[in-house]
């Protein structure tokens, strides 16, 4: 409710602005501020949440402006043109995302730069259509036949800005925001929780392109004239500056960032000899002093990290986790002669492996014996070079991680892959990704159905945290937990996907003695609830105590398989472990 009161206050402030500052200059500036803010807010979703980068947003800005402008010139009503412009931008955003899917870091940056510059070049040279630098004159913006004057156009932009703010804010606090954030933190972990990373990246780009196009269209009609000189690379940089200086990934960041990129230049306008110096200086200082942006920095100072979910209520104490979560038909994994090669090096050499029902399988072997590679193959992170994986009778050999998760196989990670920007509870809630039913519209509008679903899964996640003994840590940042606790969170997150086979990759590594006990206790409880476990572990004590069967690897080959007592006395296993020191030295990685 407090939130809605705030929105109402903002709305009133926006509404009365023209009376408070009855100058067309101020109203014009307010228009500019608002549509710039819309672009920055959308870019913040992309950069701040999904962890991608765009140095080509001026391109979307231009597409929005031109499509909307040209449609209106062709006689299409203004609102419809606006809608068209925004939709085409979304398409363009999706396209750029598809083109840059495999490109990362600076390569991704270059794809977006190239896109932005291409749009700029086309806008400049395709004079017959865009008018190029000579520009495009537009008819007055009309709403239902009513012409929009300076003030009413300002109100129109204000309403749109407010709606965009509300929607983006809703997105931030819905599972969509959570998923974007998770993806930005760790793609692979998000994928093993069932997130189709590619689609989500495309979605993030499309939304962000949408808002950029909206901003561009609103800009175009501000003066009823615009030309291609506006859509430069500098503009893209400026938008990004707004996001970063304001505080990437924060909800208020875009507002503060827009103040910096839009109002600051106004204040130093008469210092025309030095304005780049001043702007650059302030930018540099703010980046050094507040690397997380102004809002991010302030939040840090006040230790009030954004909590994207309300305080969780504790579930009934008698709950005991995954066993209550629906029926399970047990694991049925069959690995046939799986081979994994890297540049000619065979990390895994023709391994056969069967896991059935609710057994606990140990997978051990000296360093470099191929355990991690096996885990990566089984969870879909790697696709085997040769051989076949079948799961419940289905060939899953080339399944990517999110399909493995959907099929019922998930994992934890040896080098922890928690979503460090999310709270513990949110980490676990993300695990339910595959089980959410409410779509984008419900999430962005915060419909009652969405709210019910959120609270349902929050309770479910709480139950899982209770199960692993971390209920009281639910509201903390995941990164703030100890090693052992983080491993438990990973287990809880993996359980949330409701797997039939849970792969635990060295769950006790780095944990304290007390925590190891706790982890073993959790593993036992998981086993009791009927979930099969593949346990990769160095602590022999745990392996021998917990596992029903143990498979031993050495140099990528299976050298023994059997119950703990059998393995303990297996000559080849002893040999492998005694020679372990040399093995470590011989095989790097």
């Amino acid at each position: 409710m407090k939130k809605w009161l705030l929105y109402l206050l903002i709305a009133l402030a926006l509404y009365f602005f023209p009376w408070l500052f009855p100058s067309s200059y101020y109203v014009h500036m307010a228009q500019g501020f608002l549509y710039t803010y819309i672009v920055v807010a959308g870019l913040n979703l992309l950069v701040g949440l999904s962890g991608q980068l765009s140095l080509g947003h001026a391109g979307f800005y231009a597409i929005g402006a031109y499509v909307t402008g040209l449609c209106t010139v062709a006689g299409v009503p203004f609102l419809l043109s606006l809608l068209l412009g925004v939709l085409i931008c979304a398409g363009a955003g999706g396209l750029v995302a598809m083109l840059s899917l495999r490109a990362k870091g600076p390569y991704l940056a270059m794809v977006t730069i190239a896109f932005g510059l291409l749009v700029e070049i086309v806008a400049n040279r395709w004079v017959e259509v865009t008018g190029g630098p000579a520009g495009l004159y537009l008819p007055e913006a009309k709403l239902f036949g009513l012409g929009l004057g300076t003030v009413s156009y300002y109100w129109f932009i204000a309403v749109i800005a407010l709606v965009v703010t509300v929607l983006i804010d809703n997105l931030f606090t819905s599972r969509y925001g959570r998923t974007f954030r998770a993806m930005g933190n760790s793609e692979v972990a998000a994928a093993t929780a069932g997130v189709h990373v590619r689609n989500w990246k495309v979605l993030a780009f499309a939304i962000s392109a949408c808002t950029a196009g909206l901003g561009g269209a609103l800009f175009a009609f501000q003066n009823a004239y615009f030309n291609s000189d506006t859509f430069t690379f500098d503009k893209s940089i400026l938008f990004l500056v707004g996001v970063i200086v304001g505080g990437a990934g924060t909800r208020l960041g875009p507002l503060v960032g827009t103040i910096v990129i839009f109002l600051l230049p106004q204040w130093v306008q008469s210092l025309y000899n030095y304005h780049l110096l001043i702007f650059g200086g302030i930018l540099l200082l703010s980046l050094i002093a507040l690397p997380e942006g102004i809002v991010g920095g302030i939040q840090r100072i006040f230790k009030q990290r954004n909590q994207y979910s309300g305080t969780p209520s504790l579930p009934a104490p008698d709950s005991d986790g995954p066993s209550q979560m629906g029926s399970r038909d047990g694991a049925d994994l069959n690995v046939q002669a799986a081979v994994m090669e890297f540049d000619g090096f065979r990390a895994v050499d023709a391994i056969d492996l069967q896991i059935k029902g609710s057994e606990v399988r140990g997978l051990i072997g000296p360093n470099g014996s191929g355990k991690s590679t096996t885990v990566n193959m089984l969870s879909g992170v790697y696709v085997p070079t040769k051989g076949k994986l079948s799961w419940k009778g289905v060939d899953v050999t080339s399944f990517p991680p999110h399909r493995m998760a959907a099929a019922g196989i998930t994992r934890t990670f040896q080098n922890l892959q928690l979503f460090h920007e999310l709270t513990v509870l949110e980490n676990v809630m993300l695990g339910f990704h595959l089980h959410y039913r409410k779509g984008f519209a419900a999430n962005i509008l915060h419909t009652p159905g969405f709210l019910r679903e959120e609270s349902h899964f929050r309770a479910e996640a709480m139950r899982l945290l209770q199960f692993v003994g971390l209920a009281e840590k639910a509201g903390e940042q995941a990164a703030a937990l100890s090693y052992g606790q983080q491993r438990l969170v990973e287990i809880a997150r993996a359980l949330a996907t409701k797997p039939d086979l849970l792969i635990l990759d060295e769950p006790a590594a780095g944990a304290s003695l007390y925590e190891v006990d706790n982890i073993v206790r959790v593993i036992r409880k998981v086993k009791d609830s009927g979930i099969a476990i593949l346990l990769v572990e160095h602590h022999m004590e745990i392996v021998m105590n917990v596992c029903d069967t143990i498979t031993v690897l050495d140099f990528g080959k299976k050298i023994a398989e059997g119950d703990p007592a059998f393995i303990k006395n297996h000559p080849q296993v002893i040999e492998a472990y005694l020679g372990g020191e040399e093995v470590t030295k011989l095989v790097v990685g």
Partner: protein, 294 residues
């Protein structure tokens, strides 16, 4: 056509020199100077002033060119050092894109300062070797372009030797490969980062001296060249100096040849090339695929 290829190669070799600067800092600490273009501009302007001073002092042509190179290299190395200390290190790795903006911020300031010092005008940068044109059949090459070609070869050779053979170069490579292990071996990764930025800025500066007489020397000259060089680095693959050399030459030639067909969309050709390369080879032509471990 032949003329276009020759001119493209000359221009491309300059792109490649600047682009090596991106490579060195990227492999060392995963950052780059997005203001490389403005560093180049500063190199050109400082070089121009130095050259003027030195020649008017009556020094021999080759000596004065050499002195100019050394002065520019030293000045730019200092600036690179300052950049690393002032705009890269304080950001740490808190934010993956912070360094992009901090280097852009520095470049904006440099651009403004250069405008105040050297004015808003385009300044003539006469090549120390004159503008005489040699003709080989239908192809004309200026003396300066020959100088650029020779310099490019020498600089590339020195760079490859430095990176692959010298102790310092190996230390740089070690940091690039594994900073933790390198620091255990007594190599200071921070010092190497400073070295990388100094080297990178030196390359930009020298590139500026070479490109000055070819393009127009002014405070706003950097942005386009910096972007083109970045494109060259990306096309070739940021992690491979040989790839970058190829990327630079390729970009230069394609631009020139393409403008034979459509001069209006010449710039578009470069960026289309990038998109196509990156769609099929997301690590560039010769870039190394980074395999993540889980």
């Amino acid at each position: 056509m032949l003329q276009a290829i020759v001119s493209g190669l000359i221009l491309g070799s300059i792109y490649a020199i600047i682009a090596q600067g991106y490579y060195i800092t990227f492999v060392t600490n995963r950052t780059m100077n997005f203001g490389q273009g403005d560093f180049l501009m500063l190199g050109a302007l400082v070089g121009l002033t130095t050259l003027g001073t030195v020649t008017s002092a009556g020094m021999n042509l080759f000596v004065s060119v050499l002195v100019t190179m050394v002065v520019v290299a030293a000045a730019m190395a200092m600036l690179g050092w300052g950049l690393e200390r002032g705009a890269i290190r304080p950001l740490g790795h808190v934010l993956s894109v912070g360094w992009i903006l901090s280097t852009v911020a520095v470049s904006l300031m440099i651009r403004n300062i250069a405008m105040l010092i050297w004015g808003r005008n385009v300044i003539p940068f006469p090549s120390p070797f004159g503008d005489e044109v040699y003709r080989f059949g239908s192809v004309g090459i200026t003396k300066h372009e020959i100088f650029v070609a020779i310099c490019a070869i020498v600089i590339m050779a020195c760079l490859f030797f430095f990176l692959n053979r010298s102790l310092l170069g190996k230390a740089l490579a070690a940091v690039a490969f594994n900073p933790d292990a390198a620091s255990l071996m007594g190599i200071n990764p921070r010092r190497m980062a400073v070295l990388a930025f100094a080297l990178s800025s030196m390359l930009a500066g020298v590139g500026g001296i070479l490109v000055g007489p070819i393009t127009n020397t002014a405070f706003f000259m950097g942005a386009t060249l910096g972007l083109k060089a970045f494109a060259a680095a990306i096309i070739g693959g940021l992690t491979n100096p040989l790839g970058i050399l190829i990327g630079g030459l390729l970009l230069g030639v394609i631009e020139q040849v393409f403008s034979l067909y459509s001069s209006a969309y010449k710039d578009a050709s470069a960026f289309l090339l990038i998109l196509i390369v990156l769609i099929f080879m997301p690590q560039g032509l010769l870039g190394k695929k980074v395999k993540e471990k889980f």
